[in-house]
């Protein structure tokens, strides 16, 4: 089906099902229960997971397949966002043209930056991409303020022309929509003490994410994908066989940049504000980390990594000491204070610590990322060795087995 083999079709169907049921899956705890704090099934987080999933999948097309580690991918995300918001300001609040423009513009930037950066490899390539992205960020924050609105970020205003939408009615800003259906519309379902929110914006992002994911599977399995793997494993040998790796890597870079632009456009479609912070090197680092955390070179890994990081950022940062007091009020006083003190270091203002510790633990104990952990779990549940899929190689880097001393 869809030009995929049976295994991939099942895989894709599972992904589709998981995505469509996200509003339910991410809302496992009953409203009002102490654990409701951990529910992530509200529109903004679900949208972010889907969108950063796209970003990470796109990044993985470059990094996972060719091994080129770009440290400036956030620039394309930011450029996509700016392009989309400008479309909302000038043309129409319909998200389709905005997203298309976002992809085109970031594709053009990716072609230019990629063409230059790909003249070098290894860390020299990484630093070149980093330098371009930092330049974009610095300029957007200061000198290019007329175009980007600097520190605050580009946002809509009442007197924007919006030529296709005609005169805006009333005194409130229009909302982004797809042919009249607003992105922020939600359908709330209360069932069994749970409140499930089905949000138009999320489903829109989810559908695009599924399409993006499908394209990525096709790419991974295509002769083109094979060629990219060849770039990674041995570029020299590839050149000797008379193939020029340049066009392939550049194509991968542009595709991956367009994925980032798509993600940026979607971010703007969900929330029409584009801030320069999106292009900061830490944002570029974030997608690198999402990909490695989930499992570089695997299909599902980057999405998983994106989900985990966005979840930690949004949920853990909100668990303050007041919430902890509610949780542990059953403990005797002295013990309660101690437990709260320990937890407070990892939640609320200490959420970065959880992030850092997670990175260290995952990479130390699960070389190959979270997806590796899931595979091991699966293996243990099934209780036997399963035949390895020749494509989803658990060791795509072909690195030596880690020594026994890896605790």
């Amino acid at each position: 089906m869809f030009g995929l083999n049976k295994k991939d079709t099942t895989f894709l169907l599972i992904v589709i099902a998981l995505t469509l049921f996200t509003p339910i899956l991410m809302q496992p705890f009953a409203e009002g229960s102490g654990l409701a704090q951990f529910n992530g099934g509200y529109p903004d987080l679900m949208q972010k997971v889907a969108i950063f999933g796209i970003f990470a999948v796109g990044f993985n097309i470059l990094f996972g397949l060719t091994g080129y580690l770009s440290f400036g991918h956030a620039a394309f995300l930011g450029i996509g966002s700016y392009a989309a918001v400008w479309m909302f300001k000038l043309l129409t609040m319909n998200v389709i043209p905005a997203i298309l423009l976002a992809m085109v513009v970031s594709g053009i930037f990716a072609a230019a930056i990629g063409y230059v950066s790909l003249r070098r490899s290894g860390i020299y390539f990484s630093i070149l991409t980093l330098a371009f992205a930092q330049m974009c960020y610095k300029m957007a924050y200061s000198v290019l303020t007329p175009l980007t609105n600097g520190e605050t970020g580009l946002q809509l205003s009442l007197d924007d022309p919006r030529v296709l939408d005609g005169a805006s009615e009333g005194h409130s800003l229009p909302v982004t929509n797809i042919f009249g259906l607003p992105m922020n519309a939600s359908y709330k379902l209360e069932a069994l003490g749970h409140v499930f929110t089905f949000n138009v914006g999320f489903y829109f992002s989810a559908v695009i994410a599924i399409i993006a994911f499908y394209v990525a599977i096709r790419l991974f399995r295509s002769p083109f994908g094979m060629m990219l793997r060849a770039v990674k494993s041995n570029q020299q040998r590839m050149t000797y066989t008379g193939l020029d790796p340049k066009p392939y890597t550049l194509a991968a870079f542009v595709i991956s940049g367009m994925y980032a632009g798509l993600a940026g456009g979607l971010l703007a479609a969900m929330d029409p504000l584009a801030g320069a912070d999106r292009m900061l090197w830490t944002a570029s680092g974030e997608v690198v980390i999402m990909t490695i955390l989930g499992g570089a070179g695997t299909l599902m890994g980057p999405v998983l990594g994106a989900g985990v990081i966005k979840y930690l950022e949004n949920i853990f940062s909100k668990i303050n000491e007041g919430v902890l007091h509610q949780w542990f009020s059953f403990l005797p006083d002295g013990l309660e204070d101690l437990v709260i003190w320990i937890f407070a270091r990892f939640t609320g203002e200490g959420w970065h610590l959880t992030l850092g510790v997670t990175f260290m633990l995952v990479v130390t104990f699960l070389p190959g990322g979270l997806i590796e952990g899931l595979k091991r779990l699966n293996k243990r549940i099934k209780g036997g060795s399963k035949k390895r899929d020749k494509y989803d190689d658990p060791d795509p880097e072909h690195r030596p087995e880690p020594g026994k001393h890896v605790a």
């Binding site: 924050y141 970020g153 009442l158 359908y187 709330k188 504000l273 203002e349």
Partner: protein
Amino acid sequence: MSKFDLTRRGVLKTGAITGAGLALPTIFTSGASAFTNEPMGGTVTLGFNVPQSGAYADEGADELRAYQLAVEHLNGEGDGGMLNTFSSKVLEGNGILGKKVQYVTGDTQTKSDAARASAKSMIEKDGAIMITGGSSSGVAIAVQGLCQEAGVIFMAGLTHSNDTTGKDKKANGFRHFFNAYMSGAALAPVLKNLYGDDRKAYHLTADYSWGWTQEESIAAATEALGWETVAKVRTPLGAGDFSSYITPVLQTDADVLVLNHYGGDMVNSLTNAVQFGLRDKMVNGKKFEIIVPLFSRLMAKGAGENIKGIHGSTNWHWSLTDEGSQAFVKSFGTKYGFPPSQAAHTVYCQTLLYADAVARAGSFNPCAVAEALEGFEFDGLGNGKTLYRADDHQCFKDVLVVRGKENPTSEYDLLEVVEVTPAAQVTYAPDHPMFAGGALGQCNAG
């Protein structure tokens, strides 16, 4: 993995069927209730969105302390703080409109994106009826825009840019903190008395929107005195070492250096300027002076000795002796063991003002609350008689001109109040050119 998912889906399927009878469809968030997040039970949730990581994390932490104190006082716990001195007496210490006040917190990271995400999660997930906090203008403006779209009230925290209640003002957003124009208006007469009307000023400005509005405001105010502006130099945010921006000052005939910096930039540029001996310099027979228009005690601490004798302005300082300030310092100091910062003061006031407006309006509806806040005159919150102007949702109140203290008696005693500039002197017309270009629009209840 797939097996696990199947069983999971099975469970959910049965759940959905049994639950279908109870389903309460509400199309669009605003469908069932009159406005976004109308509080239904016996509680009301406020969203405290402050920086908990990044350069302003300490200020965020101080804001959070003040918020907790305000919530206590609103719920009738503690000593009541400024509720006792506040001129409006509708708050009774039984929560807001009889509903107990609860709060959720989030991390803005001092990034527009993260701040909006955090505010969204408060609105979408936790049902916050009001969002407040923040320690930079970019974040305040971004979150203010979000609150306008979502239909909740935004009570800005520490934001000093003219734009917050100027070109980016919004009907659902309110600012208690002062702004760059007011800093200029308050500082100018004091500077004239101290340094005369024949000075040449050199501006170093953080290269982003807040820096620009402050540079514009201070330059305009000092030029009106007869000062000359020699140069306006933009410095990158987080430049670290400012030496290459300080040394050119030595080569000009400027005799005043204005540092339009905040936070770490302010600490470093001031430290560097003092290191290069600018304060010991004589130019045109006059002693060289440095001015830091926006002072923050928390940040000033980072500059140590270097702030001594340097003038600037601030929204509020704990050493004020009026009743309201003292009540606040007492309850804050008793609870936490040190005096509150200006950021803590402004967010405490904002929380009280919001609660009071709800109580006076008799409704949580953002439009009713906004109406109650517009044109509201009050006293007893530490800055004297204050007006929440209807035209731009900016508070007009006394502004403090302060100086780095020569002989501090404690680690908190870094600034001394030189003059309390009366509100009338810092008031400007709503259509002042520095604030032009935006419109409040209409209040949005979601």
